[in-house]
Amino acid sequence: MLAAISAATLTGTVGRPVSVEVHVSNGLPGFTIVGLPDAAVRESRDRVRAALLSSGLPWPLRRVTVNLAPSGVRKGGAGLDLAIAVGVLVATGELPPGCTEGLTFCGELGLNGSLRHVPGMIALADAAAPRGLVVPLGDAREASLVRGDGARGVSSLADLVRILRTGAAWPTIPAAVPSPPPPDLADLADVRGQALGRHALEVAAAGRHHVLMVGPPGSGKTMLAERLPGLLPTLTAEQSLVVTRVHSAAACLGPDGALVTRPPFRAPHHRASIVALVGGGSWSLRPGEISLATHGVLFLDEMGEFPVAALEALRQPLEEGVIRVSRAGGTVTFPAHFLLVAAMNPCPCGEGVFTGACACTAAARARYTRRLSAPLLDRFDLVVPLFRPDPDQLLDGPPGESTAVSAAKVAAARGRAAARAGGDPPLHPDGARLLASKLREGALTARGLHKVSRVARTVADLMGAEQVGEEHVCDALTLRTARSTVAP
């Protein structure tokens, strides 16, 4: 009276196959689960029993032992309910032994026998057995993104038993609910003035340069940052899958379970915990905001208010594009390949030194900027000063260029960079001379030089220039002028 059913569990954003072994024997009636289950798995005893009875299936009045193999890996979540229920049915002879061969079962059971959504379906589908997997009907679309026809959806335990007994056809997976029209992406046309801010966005989007905007409240930092995703190109198929997998594992995919195709935009609040930012948790490691922003934009508003430890935790992902989260339960690697956009006030009162209204002491200002370590500040290629727009510009100024126009420029620039395939465009002697003089003056360090040249290349690409000229270098230098304001 033994059954072994394939299931899968989630560790970080990676699915791991789990074998659910069910043994039914004579003895005092009871139900035990072994193999490092977490609380949700242990509670599945009651759900499984109730679901079987509600579906008109008998519950064995015998001793039921469930082992989750490999027994050394911690298993979490309610996704193993379905596999346990099927295992009990096979072990008690309610289902023919061969019918579950090569199938993986994932799903949470309701007490009435219905199947409920499980997060991380894409990753679970990766770990599914060769014939495919059986999941709640609502999750089938998501699973089919990676398993195609191998993904099967059922809406209740009773349906599943009927299909497995009779070999009836699997229900058709519902077509993608036409996803609600994308929420009106904020358009750049709403931004009046801010020539430097807009330009910085285009350069950031074209060359994947991290941006830090420094300006007083009301200068449009947040408004600009929210419009950056609109300038980024649509995700490639590969990126799309990576993003969808992470979002699926964090259970923040849309209700239709469709692929994420637009670059995500995440804006965690400055009081968010470090774990919420970089990912973690005690046993079931969850991706954090920086992973949810992968291939998209991570916006840190009021960067000066974030805990220093949280900011320092960004350094590894900014360099390597991944974040490794280590816990007693193991280490997982989450993707974290994001474009960082940060905004901060020039000083605690926000007015900045040059307006004359700043009431901060020099010491308070120094304390404020000291939160940004030099290595972190070095990750920003663009450190842009923003000022409040003039009232006349705000009231009567013409609307700025729309997102569509800017996005086209960015796409063209990215195209030019890609066409060079890594080769650098030539540096015009004038540009080289300017860089050399800045280096000699001490206005640039070696690292600064490298960064300015990189940005200048992007600017040249944006302008459609064949070589990096003096004005492109000047532009790149202008795009980091606020560095002196925030450098500790």
Partner: protein
């Protein structure tokens, strides 16, 4: 109480090393380094005796040789009242420090008329621009600019004054071995190289709060005219103004907006009868009333107005009032790379200047 080797006493009073032939300056530095001796005591001690005699007749602990070595290693000159390097213009002042430390040339302050440009540490763009321009124009006219190397107005004035012309003079509060504020370390070195940085504090003394008013008084003593560019009500510049007023030194103030908190102090000074400063010529006039005649820098304005280069159109949009890049984009219709390139060329030609992200004509 006399001791056998007065030059080298450890705390317990025993002789540490053999006496070598140390100059008077070494004893002056040692006396100034004794924490118990304040500026007034020091003046009293050195009023009648030479530093070596004053040291010998006192019983303060301290290793003269080591103190002297510390100053020599860092190139810090020590001037004592009565010594050869002591600035002439301090000679007649009863409150002048008895021992003065200096980086650079201690005689730099003697050669040219001096004007102090002082002001707040959190200035507006306007204040920065005015300070930098006055600094540059005064230096070009042959006036040594005196300032405190602090953040804000002081720094901007020295930035302007180190460009060319008469040697810049700085007066700082702490020891000369440790630039303060750190952000101005490079500027500090440039001032020391072209002119002089003075302090009443020996090497190794941290910049403490009470030393700033003392510094401000010395600043006033070293200056023929004091000009306050921007200051809040009751700002630190008022110490300098008070010290200048005590000595009958003319004080000028740059008028500012009645709405700007950073001009409260200066506008108040004008109401109190300080002379208004709206151009370098006003400062030069004040100097001429003291008997220092300097030709007003001629033609600078005209020559600049006639600037005729490739970026003429851009230059015409700039004015002495700072203008943001945003406004420049609107006024010229240029895209940012072209605009930045043009501004860089104008800056190199010396006719435009970047003030904290804004641009103005010089």
């Amino acid at each position: 109480m006399r001791r056998p080797h007065p030059a080298h006493r450890s705390i317990d009073g025993g002789a540490v090393t053999e006496n070598q032939d140390l100059p008077e300056e070494a004893y002056a530095a040692a006396l100034a380094s004794v924490p118990k001796i304040g500026p007034a005591t020091l003046r009293q001690l050195l009023a009648a005796e030479k530093p070596s005699e004053a040291w010998a007749s006192s019983s303060y602990p301290g290793d003269v040789a080591r103190i002297w070595q510390r100053h020599e290693e860092r190139g810090i000159e020590v001037c004592w009242r009565g010594g050869p390097d002591y600035p002439d213009r301090l000679g007649g002042d009863p409150d002048a420090p008895a021992v003065l430390f200096c980086l650079g040339n201690p005689a730099a302050v003697n050669r040219h008329p001096t004007v102090a440009l002082v002001g707040t540490r959190s200035p507006t763009r306007y204040g920065i621009g005015v300070a930098a321009q006055f600094g540059a124009d005064l230096a070009a006219a042959g006036v040594s600019v005196v300032s405190g190397l602090a953040l804000g107005i002081d720094g901007a004035a020295h930035e302007g004054a180190t460009a060319a012309g008469a040697p810049p003079i700085a007066v700082v509060a702490g020891g000369l071995d440790d630039p303060y504020p750190r952000r101005h370390a490079r500027l500090w070195a440039r001032v020391a190289e072209q002119g002089a940085v003075y302090s009443e504090s020996p090497a190794g003394v941290p910049t403490e709060k009470w030393r700033f008013p003392v510094r401000n008084r010395l600043l006033a003593m070293l200056s023929d005219v004091v000009v306050v560019v921007e200051s809040r009500h009751g700002g630190g510049s008022m110490h300098t103004v008070a010290a200048a007023a005590e000595r009958g030194t003319p004080v000028g103030a740059v008028p500012g907006s009645i709405r700007s908190p950073t001009s409260e102090g200066t506008n108040g000074l004008l109401a109190d009868g300080c002379f208004p400063v709206s151009s370098v010529a006003d400062i030069l006039t004040a100097l001429s009333l003291l008997g220092v005649y300097l030709p007003t820098p001629t033609g600078a304005g005209e020559a600049r107005r006639e600037y005729d280069g490739p970026d003429r159109a851009l230059f015409d949009v700039l004015s002495p009032d700072p203008i943001s890049l945003d406004q420049l984009v609107r006024a010229t219709g240029l895209d940012l790379p072209a605009l930045c390139g043009g501004l860089e060329r104008l800056a190199r030609a010396g006719v435009a200047r970047d003030v904290g992200g804004w641009w103005e004509r010089t």
